[in-house]
Amino acid sequence: MKKPTVLQAVFYAALLAALLAFPLVVKGTFPTHVMIMVFLFAMMGVAWNILGGYAAMFSFGQAAFFGIGAYTSTILLMNYNVNPWIGLVAGGVLAALMGAAIGIPCSNLRGHYFAIASIAFAEIVRIHFNNWKFVAAAEGLSLPLLPDSLKNFMFHSSKAPYYYIILVFLLLSVLICWYISTNRMGFYLRAIKESHELAKGMGISFVRYRLYAIMISAFLTAMAGTFYAQYILYIDPESVLILPISVQVVLVAMLGGAGTIIGPVIGAAILLPLSEITRVWLGYKGTGVDMMIYGALIMVISAYQPQGVWGYLTSIRRRAK
C-alpha cells in the first residue's frame, strides 16, 4: 500500500538487473535450471497465495491445474498442431473452468475441509489421467521437437530463453497479485478470510469472490504447467499431477510468507535450490537424505516462524522503527 522509497526502488531495480543478467553471466546449465525451477514454483506459489494466503482456501490440489495446463497445450500441439502459446491460453481457460466447477460446490467449505476437497479433486484428476488412453495414460507424452523459436515455445541450444519466459510469467503473476491485493478483491478476500459472517454483513458475496480467486489461481498455475511441458518436453501423470507438487507449492508460499505479495517468491528462492541441490548431491543414492534435510528445514521454519520468512523480516522492520 505504501509507496516504495528511493532505496527500495533502487534495490528492486538492481535485483531485476541481476536477474536479467544471470543467464549471461553464470556459466553452465545447472544454475540456470535451478533458477528456472525457482521462478516456476515462485509463480505457482504466488498463484496459490491468491487462494490460500488471501482467501484462506488452502488448496492442496494445485497439481491438478498444473497438469491440466501441461496436458492441454501438449495434446493440442500433438494432435491438432496448435501453437503452444494458444495452448497455454486454452489450458489456462480450461483450468479456470475446472476451478469454477469445484469452486462453486466447495466455496462454503472452510479451512481444512477445503484442503481435503482439493486433495480429493487433484487425486481424481491424476487417477483419471493415469487411465485415460486419449492422453496416453501412464505412458506419458513426449512433445514433438520443433525448431528453436519463441513462436514454437521451444529452445534446444540454450536454457536462457526459458529462463526469460518464466521470469516474465513470474513478474506477471506478481503484478496480478499486487493488483488484486491493493484493490477491492484483495480487501474482500481478506474480509472473507477473517469471517464469512463479517463478509456477508459487509455486502460481500463470498461465493463470487472465492470463485474469482480460484479461477485466477488456476489460470496462472496452468500457465506454469504449459511452461513445464515445453521446458521438459515430456509429461506423464507422475510428473505433473502428483500430490508432492501441490505440497511443494503450499510450502513455498507458507514458508515465504502467506498473504504477502513477495513471500512466495522468497519461499521458492530458499526451497527450490535446496531441493534441487540436495537432490543432485544426495538424491541419486536413493537414501532419501535430500528429503530428510528438506523436511527438517520445513519443520524448523514452521516451528519458529509460522508467518514465513517475509513475515519475520517485516516484524524485524516494525520493531526497528
Binding site: M1, R184, F187, A191, L198, M202, G203, G259
Partner: protein, 245 residues
C-alpha cells in the same frame, strides 16, 4: 420521523427444531428514527435481527425494506440494498489496519481505490478513530473495535443501520461517546435499529422501543412508557416484583 416506513416486519416466525425463537413478530421502522429492540436474555432479539438481515430465513412472515420484499434475499444483497449491521460479538478484520477495515466497507459502492481511501478517512474522522487509522484491527480496544464496526458499516453507505449490542461492556465514558456517535449518524439521515441491553443507552437514544419476550412482541411504545409497563417489568423481574404494582 417523516415519510413512510423504512422497514416493515410482518409476522416473523422462526423455529429451531422444536424451539420457537420468534413468533409472529411485527413492527415498522420509520425513516430517520431510532428504534430499540429490548428484552431479557434468550428472548429472541438476535434471532429477529438475523431474520431481518438475511442471516436466517424466517419460517413465516415477511420483511419489507422500503416496500421491497427482502425476506428471502441473501445477506450480502441486503447489505447492498442499504441495510448494514454489526455483530453481537464484535467482528473486525484483525490483520488489516483500522483504515483498511473501513475501506473494505467503502468498496461496496466505490471501486476507485483513491476515492475509497478518502471516503474511509472521512468516516474515521466522523467516528473519532482517525488518529488510530494505522493501528491493526487486532491491536485496538474493545470500545474502539465497536466504534470501528459502526464505521465499517457506515462505509457501505446504509439507509438503515442495525446494531446488535453495540454498547455492551462499555465504560460510562465510552458509552457516552457511542451514544453521541449514533446521534450524529442519525442526524446524517440514517435510520437506526438497535438491539440493546444497556438501558441507559436505550432510554437516551430511542424514539420507540419494541419489547420482546419468549419470542413474542409484548409491548411497543415510547421508552418512558415502556419501562413502566407491568408486562415489561414482569418479563424482566418476574411476577413477584410485579405483584405490588
Amino acid at each position: 420521523m417523516t415519510a413512510g416506513p423504512v422497514l416493515d416486519v410482518e409476522g416473523i416466525t422462526k423455529r429451531f427444531g422444536g424451539l420457537t425463537a420468534n413468533e409472529d413478530v411485527s413492527f415498522t421502522v420509520n425513516q430517520g428514527e431510532i428504534l430499540s429492540i429490548i428484552g431479557p436474555n434468550g428472548a429472541g432479539k438476535s434471532t429477529l435481527f438475523n431474520c431481518i438481515t438475511g442471516f436466517y430465513r424466517p419460517d413465516a412472515g415477511k420483511v419489507l425494506f422500503r416496500g421491497k420484499d427482502i425476506t428471502t434475499a441473501s445477506a450480502h444483497k441486503i447489505c447492498k440494498l442499504g441495510i448494514a449491521r454489526t455483530f453481537q460479538i464484535v467482528q473486525v478484520i484483525s490483520d488489516m489496519t483500522v483504515l483498511e477495515n473501513v475501506m473494505t466497507g467503502t468498496f461496496l459502492r466505490t471501486y476507485d481505490r483513491k476515492k475509497v481511501r478518502e471516503k474511509a478517512g472521512e468516516i474515521l474522522r466522523f467516528a473519532g478513530l482517525y488518529e488510530k487509522r494505522d493501528f491493526l484491527g487486532t491491536n485496538i480496544t474493545i470500545a474502539d473495535k465497536k466504534r470501528l464496526e459502526v464505521a465499517m458499516a457506515l462505509g457501505t453507505e446504509p439507509t438503515l443501520l442495525m446494531l446488535d449490542e453495540a454498547m455492551a461492556g462499555l465504560t460510562p465514558v465510552e458509552l457516552r461517546e457511542m451514544i453521541g456517535l449514533l446521534r450524529k449518524v442519525r442526524e446524517n439521515g440514517v435510520t437506526l435499529v438497535i438491539v440493546e441491553h444497556v438501558m441507559e443507552a436505550v432510554m437516551q437514544l430511542s424514539d420507540r422501543v419494541v419489547v420482546i419476550n419468549s419470542g413474542r412482541k409484548i409491548v411497543e411504545g415510547a421508552p418512558a412508557d415502556v419501562v413502566r409497563n407491568p408486562e415489561v417489568i414482569q418479563a424482566y423481574l418476574g411476577d413477584r416484583y410485579n405483584a405490588g404494582n
